[in-house]
């Protein structure tokens, strides 16, 4: 990757080299004027080295994970970490799929339900709320907006223990609902939807729909929802990542291993691996498999999360 990228950088033209004499005191001003946005060769080389080092730092752990996923337990501890050994990937995948009655895939399914279903429901709630806040003037609007903004300062994890207490009171601990329902409240998503709706849905369109006799409900569903969908994808993405990341609440609430999301399951295996060394391989391959869906979603929806981040900050 690195070499290929280096080649794409155009070599400085001879003219450029001539135009830029050795830096002398006082000449800096002239050279900046002459080049406009073109940075000096030294700066470009330094930038390449820096970017190379940074890219290594961010990608090497993922590379290691891929390599380690192809190794048997013995090889994991005995062969050089960054080099492939015998390809054991299929065997590891089989072990992963069969261990403890295939509970890993159950965890993956749970995560898909919690993050997928939960985020879709939550995104819908965010869109319809943001739309209401942007398109209508009504009593209590400023109170709701204030609550949305204020609650941005309450981090999810501070709420984990209190939410657990509440779920116990409601008898919802150790159930799917105990994870799904709390994830519906997402003020940041409402704020994003509010910002999106202000720019994406023209008030005139709403008026026209009303003149045509459409109900408020229909105006939202058949006109606004479509216009809001790019913003919706962004909210969905953040909601999905956030809830796939959720750890403390499920750890508190779900004692039944068959209800746990994949993060809780994997960290449980990692704890158990202290006494069962064979589990190390499963932790490695399980980690890899668990991040593949998110990475695919991420790379394919790049333009959405970029617009989303431009629209506001992000809560993490």
């Amino acid at each position: 990757m690195m070499t290929q990228a280096t080649v794409t950088s155009p070599p400085p033209t001879p003219e450029a080299r001539i135009r830029r004499p050795a830096p002398k005191p006082g000449s800096a001003r002239a050279s900046v004027l002459a080049e406009g946005e073109r940075p000096s060769r030294g700066a470009r080389i330094a930038a390449w080295i820096f970017m190379g080092a940074v890219t290594l730092y961010f990608l090497v752990p993922v590379y290691w994970l891929i390599v380690a996923s192809t190794k048997s337990t013995a090889e994991l501890f005995s062969t050089p970490g960054f080099a492939f050994a015998n390809l054991n990937l299929v065997e590891n995948l089989t072990n992963l799929s069969t261990y403890n009655g295939g509970i890993f895939w159950r965890w993956m399914g749970n995560s898909m339900i919690y993050s997928g279903l939960g985020s879709i429901a939550m995104t819908f709630i965010c869109l319809i709320s943001g739309y209401a806040l942007a398109m209508y003037r009504f009593k209590g609007r400023t109170i709701v907006l204030g609550a949305v903004l204020g609650s941005m300062l309450i981090p999810q994890t501070v709420l984990a223990q209190p939410t657990y207490l509440l779920l116990v009171e409601l008898g919802l601990n150790n159930t799917i609902w105990g994870i799904l329902l709390p994830s519906l409240a997402y003020p940041f998503g409402v704020l994003l939807a509010f910002v999106f709706a202000q720019s994406a849905v023209p008030m005139e369109l709403l008026e026209a729909a009303r003149l045509d006799g459409a109900s408020e409900w229909r105006a939202f569903f058949s006109i606004a929802l479509k216009l809001l969908s790019p913003g919706g994808v962004t909210i969905l993405l953040f909601a999905f990542i956030g809830s796939w990341n959720n750890f403390m609440l499920p750890l508190l609430v779900l004692s039944d291993a068959r209800l746990q999301p994949v993060t809780v399951g994997l960290s449980g295996w990692s704890q158990a691996a202290i006494t069962i060394p064979g589990l190390q391989t499963l932790v490695v391959i399980g980690s890899l498999v668990s991040i593949i869906p998110i990475i695919v979603v991420f790379v394919s929806l790049q333009r959405y999360w970029k617009t989303g981040l431009a629209a506001g900050g992000v809560r993490f």
Binding site: V32, P61, F77, S129, T157, P162, L165, L166, S267, I294
Partner: protein
């Protein structure tokens, strides 16, 4: 008066009240009670007794809980500036003409954000372990012996996992802010003979000040909430105690300790601490901006 907006907002308001306000009320209420066993021995029932601020007194007297605050503060003082400086430097580079192949590099930097923090901690946990890690091995071959999981180093190893995970998001937020700065400002500065470095310092930084404040604030909040990474890495080292961070202490008191009342008091304290620190940071940075 139209009903529609109220109908549209009902699901959000319900979920907000039930799952954001109510938990805090329940935790507050719980934090003022203690479970006392009435009668003697095994036969007695457990009664909840109002004890006022007893649980708070206990929490403040709990040295492990207090130490955990010191630990995350130290962590934040080091990790937040390093991470933000790296994010800012990357954002400035991506905004300039110096770096080519921007899309590839941006994706590389942002990719770790897609890795859940638990999985990030698992991966780095392997990379810190002497028997597995090619990094530890490679350094040993160079004659450098490091113990990433020692009592003095493990905090910084956790900090590294956090830097790895969140630099990308912060970079994108700062980069998006930089992209909104009108290009004409740069042209004007260039005509005045400003160097790229001076432009970055004197034009770009002030222009993206709100984004910088936002990222700083959320990073500090994130630091106080530290839980996933240290909790996960307990499986590779014994140098992370059960009450290593405030959230772990809360978790510990609530589950293993079996004292949900103390756990609630701790959660309220952590919530207040987070709130106060957020306010202090935004006031302090606003004042600084006023002077500049």
């Amino acid at each position: 008066m139209r009903v529609a907006p109220y109908v549209f907002l009902t699901p959000f308001i319900l979920s907000f009240v039930i799952f954001m306000i109510l938990p805090i009320v329940v935790a507050l209420y719980t934090s003022f009670f203690q479970v006392k066993r009435s009668g003697l021995g095994f036969g007695g029932d457990n009664d909840s007794v109002f004890v006022g601020f007893d649980n708070y007194v206990q929490a403040f007297a709990n040295s492990a809980f207090m130490d955990s605050f010191g630990r995350v503060l130290l962590f934040g003082i080091v990790q937040v500036p390093i991470m933000l400086a790296l994010s800012l430097l990357l954002a400035l580079l991506f905004d300039s003409a110096v770096v080519k192949a921007k899309r590839f590099f941006q994706l590389a930097v942002f990719l770790p954000y897609a890795v859940p923090s638990v999985v990030a901690a698992l991966i780095w946990g392997f990379l810190y372990q002497p028997r597995v890690s090619p990094i530890v091995e490679g350094l040993a071959d160079l004659g450098v012996s490091v113990d990433f999981l020692g009592p003095g180093t493990v905090l910084w190893s956790i900090a590294n996992v956090a830097v790895w995970s969140v630099t990308g998001v912060n970079m994108i937020i700062l980069f998006s802010a930089l992209q909104t700065v009108p290009r004409e400002m740069y042209e004007a500065a260039r005509l005045d003979g400003a160097s790229e470095f001076r432009m970055a310092l004197q034009i770009k930084l002030p222009m993206i000040y709100p984004a910088l404040l936002l990222t700083t604030l959320f990073s500090i909040i994130g630091t106080l909430q530290l839980f996933n990474e240290p909790m996960t890495m307990r499986s590779v080292t014994s140098n992370i105690s059960g009450s290593y961070t405030p959230n772990m202490a809360i978790f510990n008191a609530t589950t293993l300790g079996g004292n949900i009342n103390l756990g609630s008091a701790m959660a309220i304290i952590l919530g207040l601490a987070t709130f106060v620190l957020s306010i202090v940071v935004s006031v302090a940075t606003n004042r600084k901006k006023g002077k500049a």
